[in-house]
């Protein structure tokens, strides 16, 4: 029980306290760099500016001191509840994400995931499907036509992309043979020979030893490149940030479903969108970028390398620290990638978003499933 609480605090505190304030700053700075202007640097405390790092503090102060407003004719209870509902699914999804492997310290076994459940990926989908309600309730309870239009757009977009998001990862389930996220990460902590298929097809008896060294880490992105692109597109559309921000569309429907929100309750919507960025990074990292795995250095290799000199307990501890660090590094990379996409592409038109989902991603993901299934069966038949 105590261990679970410590693990929970670790992952929630790292994301909420370390990532979240920095992300708003990174977003400002990166947009400034990409648009060739000087970024956020005005907020200062006694003249000290440190690259605009005080801006998150200024943001929160502003949001807290603004008037908390409920429009006339709005459903007060639901209007108050909607921002909270928008925020909860992102936090819940963190429970099943492994930020490290399983480590043994004598009798103590440390499994660095809060809830190691067999149906982890289904849990993420189930929790994620509830995120629609935040936008829908907010749009309806505001008693505003723009808000309602935004809610309609948000819900139809999120339902559509949920379908394709599920189909896009079926291929990766077939390759890994599991829905349990820690197992997926362990699977990716190995390498495969790039030319191994020559041996499988019986073209040569055994590969020469020097060709044996041409290896790739067994990451989802190398086994399912198409699945990676499709899944990333879908999960970014679920987050409703640009280029998929038609539900907000400030040039068409003013500000969509959070038009009538002010103060910290608007801040909660804002936070939930920003919170989803690292959560998306964690999910994509675990599925496609090897989770906590260090490329070409498996857990046994690291422990086997250090333990003769410093003892096994110390080696395991070092390995654990390296793995957690690697995981966070990959998550940071995914955050950078999402920010870059967000500031590179303009907003899609609403019908383009729907066309992309139903006419491009859905057929491609079905093709991906069929091709992956055939390949898996073929390789199993050869072995």
């Amino acid at each position: 029980m105590l261990v679970v609480i410590i693990k929970l605090l670790f992952i929630v505190l790292v994301i909420m306290a370390a990532f979240l304030p920095i992300i708003t700053w990174v977003e400002r700075k990166q947009s400034a760099v990409m648009q060739d202007r000087i970024g956020a640097n005005r907020a200062d405390i006694f003249g000290i500016r440190i690259l605009g790092l005080f801006h998150p503090i200024a943001d929160v102060l502003k949001l807290f001191t603004k008037e908390d407003f409920v429009p006339q004719g709005a459903n007060r209870v639901l209007h108050l509840l909607a921002p909270v509902i928008a925020m909860v699914p992102a936090i819940m999804a963190m429970a099943v994400i492994p930020y490290g492997g399983v480590y043994r310290f004598g009798d103590l076994e440390l499994n660095l995931v809060v809830a190691d459940i067999d149906w982890g990926m289904l849990y993420i989908f189930a929790v994620g499907s509830l995120a629609t309600y935040g936008a829908v309730i907010a749009g309806w309870a505001s008693n505003n036509n723009w808000s309602l239009l935004g809610a309609m757009r948000a819900s139809s977009q999120m339902i559509s992309y949920e379908v394709t998001m599920g189909l896009a990862v079926v291929g990766i389930f077939m390759v890994f043979g599991t829905l349990r996220l820690p197992e997926m990460a362990v699977f990716q902590d190995q390498t495969f020979r790039l030319l191994g298929f020559v041996e499988l097809l019986g073209l040569v008896e055994t590969l020469p030893i020097w060709l044996d060294w041409i290896r790739l880490p067994m990451w989802g992105i190398f086994l399912q490149p198409l699945g990676f692109i499709l899944f990333l597109t879908c999960i970014m559309a679920e987050n409703k940030r640009p280029p998929f921000d038609a539900p907000e569309g400030e040039s068409e429907i003013v500000s969509g479903y959070h038009l009538e929100y002010s103060g910290m309750r608007f801040g909660l919507f804002y936070t939930s969108e920003f919170l989803e960025i690292p959560v998306i990074g964690m999910i994509v990292t675990t599925l496609f970028l090897g989770g906590w795995a260090i490329p070409f250095l498996s857990q046994e290799t690291i422990i086997g390398f250090i333990s003769p000199i410093f003892g096994e307990g110390f080696a395991t501890a070092v390995c654990m620290a390296l793995h957690v660090g690697t995981f966070l590094l990959k998550v940071i990379f995914m955050i950078w990638l999402q920010m870059t996409i967000r500031w590179t592409l303009p907003r899609f038109r609403y019908d383009q978003i729907m066309d992309l989902c139903w006419k491009m991603i859905l057929p491609l993901s079905i093709v991906n499933i069929l091709a992956t299934g055939a390949a898996v069966l073929f390789i199993r038949g050869l072995q």
Partner: protein, 165 residues
Amino acid sequence: MSLLFFYIFAAIAIAGALGMVLNTRNTVASALSLVLTMVALGGVYVLLEAYLIGALQILVYAGAIVVLFLFVVMLLNLRQPDFSPQRQRVTKIAAAVIGVLVLLQFLQLIHGAFGAPAAIPEGFGGYRQVGTALFTDYVLAFEATSLLLLAAMVGAVILAKRKID
């Protein structure tokens, strides 16, 4: 521990169901109480180790079907006068008949439910077992369902097309 969680989920489910039925003023709020019931039922399924059903309950019912309900309710924006008293009487009688029938069946089920519980096979309720059963023992039913869904999809496309032309 799991008994405590069962009572919590059961209380939420019943509260949601009552909220849905008794709230006649606000259709959207009653649809949202239905979501509460669905999520709580998902929790109960998970406590019963039917993990796949639990996840699907939330994913399909709470996450997709009720959203579509809400879609319709919000767009139609129904008010009380839209239902004539005559139509309401028919609806009430039909609801009463169906309610009594379901209650009788439920009582019959409860009557037989207190025997010794059947032995649960290894890995019961997991996605592997359900998937294997669907694609081996029940493959005919599975394919028939897919045909039904395809027909519904084609029908929906045709209906939507007719409106635009």
